[in-house]
Amino acid sequence: MHFSIIVFPGSNCDQDCHYLVKDLLGQKASFVWHKEKLLPKTDCVILPGGFSYGDYLRCGAIARFSPIMQDIVKFAEAGGKVMGICNGFQILTEAHLLPGVLLRNKNLNFICKNIFLKVSSQKTPFTQALALNSVLQMPIAHMEGNYFIEAEGLEELQQNSQIVFRYSDEKGDFTAESNPNGALENIAGICNKKGNVLGLMPHPERIAETLLGGRDGKLLFESLTDL
């Protein structure tokens, strides 16, 4: 499979994504600078984490207008697989490829720690091979991860199995303590209606090998490449 890792000015997780996909999984990967007008021939687009445009105005608000985004929207609308990690998730909501918005963390702190996620939907190719309700461990590192959507939108997400990951405790229970940022319904990651676009706040690329403290992050990509 070929992965296109988009690089915006301020992206900083692109190298880790590339390492995971190319060195750990043996797939093909290219960096794509945000000013390119067209994607290369590719199977999956990754919007990595970081601080595109310094988070100016709103996180992802300006990256959404980068030249490459037009082709990414086309790619996604044609069913292409897209994964937005952290800032990438923020960019996807600003670009309206995913519904809702990521607000500032409820306690106004930048939170950097390991959390637990419960797999809540197998609708996406990234979670297809994962056991429903299994609990994964991943790090988060963000200031604006508080997912919000209005009531009607939430109902739609629930009806269409679009809520893919929810913060939980180690046992898989959705407690208030397990929610690091105040996100509605402990939502950590969602997909679009078709399931080909995934956005998540946690960083799978930072927990992809034992040396980093765990391998749960790799599972999302193995689920994809095993197709």
């Binding site: 105005l57 607000l103 105040g182």
Partner: protein, 79 residues
Amino acid sequence: MMKARVYVTLKKGVLDPQGKAVEHALESMGHQNVTQVRVGKFFEIEIDASPEKAKEQLKEMGEKLLANTVIEDYKIELG
């Protein structure tokens, strides 16, 4: 040359932890009778267009960039 001011504010009902933090700070300052604070954004935009064209353009700017209409409202003042 048109000068415009665009105010972006949070929609009613959207949680504003920043506003709360400012409210508490004002209380600490001694202003015990402040009942609510909401924090918004303010843009000053100079645009070379007629008032009609400027209004049209500013509306698009508000809708697509200056405000995230999921959680924010915007108001344009021209002139």
